[in-house]
């Protein structure tokens, strides 16, 4: 990110809550691509399949997440 871009970013960051400025600046300064706003949206499913399943203890009443 160029010096001009960083100045513009700091100007925008000055408009947000103070406790977020440092956090967002760290994420944004390192990569110009990160500044291009993008989002993903997805429905929360009930069962996400195999990704987190492993041979693991699960206490009674803990639900399904220990799989």
């Amino acid at each position: 990110m160029s010096q001009d871009a960083i100045k513009s970013l700091e100007n925008a960051l000055a408009q947000v809550k103070q406790d977020r400025r440092g956090f967002l600046k760290t994420l944004l300064v390192g990569s110009a691509v990160a500044a291009v706003p993008l989002m993903t949206s997805e429905a929360m499913a009930q069962d996400g399949g195999e990704e987190g399943k492993k041979k693991k203890k699960k206490k009674k009443g803990e639900g399904e997440e220990g799989k």
């Binding site: 990110m1 001009d4 871009a5 960083i6 513009s8 970013l9 100007n11 925008a12 960051l13 408009q15 947000v16 809550k17 977020r20 956090f23 967002l24 994420l27 944004l28 990569s31 110009a32 691509v33 990160a34 500044a35 291009v36 706003p37 993008l38 989002m39 993903t40 949206s41 997805e42 429905a43 929360m44 499913a45 009930q46 069962d47 996400g48 399949g49 195999e50 990704e51 987190g52 399943k53 492993k54 041979k55 693991k56 203890k57 699960k58 206490k59 009674k60 639900g63 399904e64 997440e65 799989k67």
Partner: protein, 385 residues
């Protein structure tokens, strides 16, 4: 024209990749990259789209200013933004407990990467949240973040000292320390005290465990047409292997360290005798001899196989067979994995057999079960006297 504003129903949290947002009405998860997170912060109802373009446009890469309009359109369609009034309104953020519950739900939905991010934030918001540290370690392992898993488990044990023997074993692996000869008794007992009640369903249905069937594949060539055998099932657990062994047995004994698992085995009513004991000691103290000694998915808690193979070899009758399964490893002789279990190199099986004066009748690689959605390969061995 009203200004864009974050939908007041939305819960937001900063995470290391940007923001995570949850819409409880639409039951939808949104993930915002850093640029979108900044725009979300700016969308507090006081700024028009023109204001947003003027603020964010100058630091965007050349030619990407249209991305602001596109993102606003997308966020409106997804329900993250709405056209609000002209007064400032702060969006709502997750509390630590809300975020923990949300992360638990994400994990159960299979969204482990996002769960990891949310748990990281949970412990940042509430550093004494013991359950969150535990779950963060667990999820960090799921997503391959070993260093974060180690730190999280260490923090959990700091808050709950002496509270988890299994974690202590896992930490040995995560720290890269020299592994103990085998998992401590209290570790195994703890695992199966918590695991027993859902062991069969998790292993058979969720993880497609095939240990007993594949073990039978290496046993049958050893026993040929012989039946009415005296069979010892060491580490018999809930008796899954016993079900496969019973039709071959005149007398079937089961030995296991976990009383809870043995209780399940007892309910099957297939064993002639069941004993709670550590299997190496039991083998070294018994005077009985057996046609077959079977050990299904139990040597995963043993590192060096020398002592157990030797002890089993001494209790085999002539032409008897010691059959067992384990996780196949690439490190010789064995490796303590991040699960707290051991994986063995095939050459170590051959060496242990040779030391015990046994012959390797079968040593094959085959599917054992699933873990984290991928196949775990097992080693199935038949050693004969």
């Amino acid at each position: 024209m009203p200004n864009p504003i974050i939908n007041p129903a939305i819960l937001l949290s900063p995470v290391e990749t940007g923001y995570v947002a949850y819409d409880p009405i639409g039951d939808k998860l949104h993930q915002l990259n850093p640029g979108a997170a900044l725009l979300a912060e700016l969308c507090d109802g006081t700024r028009s789209v023109d204001d947003l373009r003027a603020l964010a446009g100058p630091f965007m890469p050349e030619g990407s200013v249209d991305a602001i309009d596109r993102w606003i359109d997308d966020a409106m369609t997804a329900g993250l933004l709405t056209w609000g009034g002209s007064v400032s309104a702060a969006h709502r953020e997750f509390s630590a407990d809300e975020l923990f519950d949300f992360a638990s739900r994400l994990k159960s939905c299979g969204k482990v990467q996002t769960a990891f991010l949310c748990l990281q934030k949970t412990v940042e918001l509430k550093p004494d949240h013991t359950e969150a540290w535990y779950k963060l370690g667990d999820v960090a392992q799921s997503v391959g973040r070993r260093a974060e898993a180690r730190i999280a488990y260490e923090k959990y044990l700091e808050l709950e000292p002496g509270g988890d023997a299994e974690l202590e074993q896992i930490l040995v692996a995560l720290r890269g320390e020299a592994p103990p000869e085998r998992a401590p008794d209290r570790c195994i007992q703890q695992i199966y005290r918590d695991f027993a009640w859902h062991y069969d369903s998790q292993m058979r249905e969720d993880l497609q465990y095939q240990g007993p069937e594949r073990l039978l594949d290496v046993l049958m060539p050893v026993i040929g047409e012989r039946r009415d055998l005296s069979i010892l099932d060491i580490g018999c657990g809930s008796g899954l292997a016993g079900v496969a062994l019973r039709p071959l047995a005149r007398h079937l004994i089961g030995v296991d360290l976990s009383p809870e698992m043995l209780e399940l085995a007892r309910k099957r009513n297939i064993y002639d005798k069941l004993e709670v004991a550590e299997i190496t000691e039991w083998l070294e103290n018994t005077k009985d001899s057996f046609d077959v000694i079977a050990c299904c998915d139990c040597l995963i808690y043993f590192g060096d196989l020398g002592r157990i193979v030797s002890a089993a070899g001494k209790r085999l009758k002539k032409d008897g067979g010691f059959v067992f399964s384990m996780e196949r490893g690439d490190v010789h002789p064995f490796k303590l994995t991040d699960t707290g279990r051991y994986a063995h190199h095939p050459d170590h099986v051959r060496e242990a057999a040779a030391s015990a004066g046994l012959s390797v009748a079968e040593l094959r690689e085959a599917f054992l079960r699933m873990e984290y959605g991928v196949e775990v390969m097992g080693l199935y061995a038949a050693l004969t006297k």
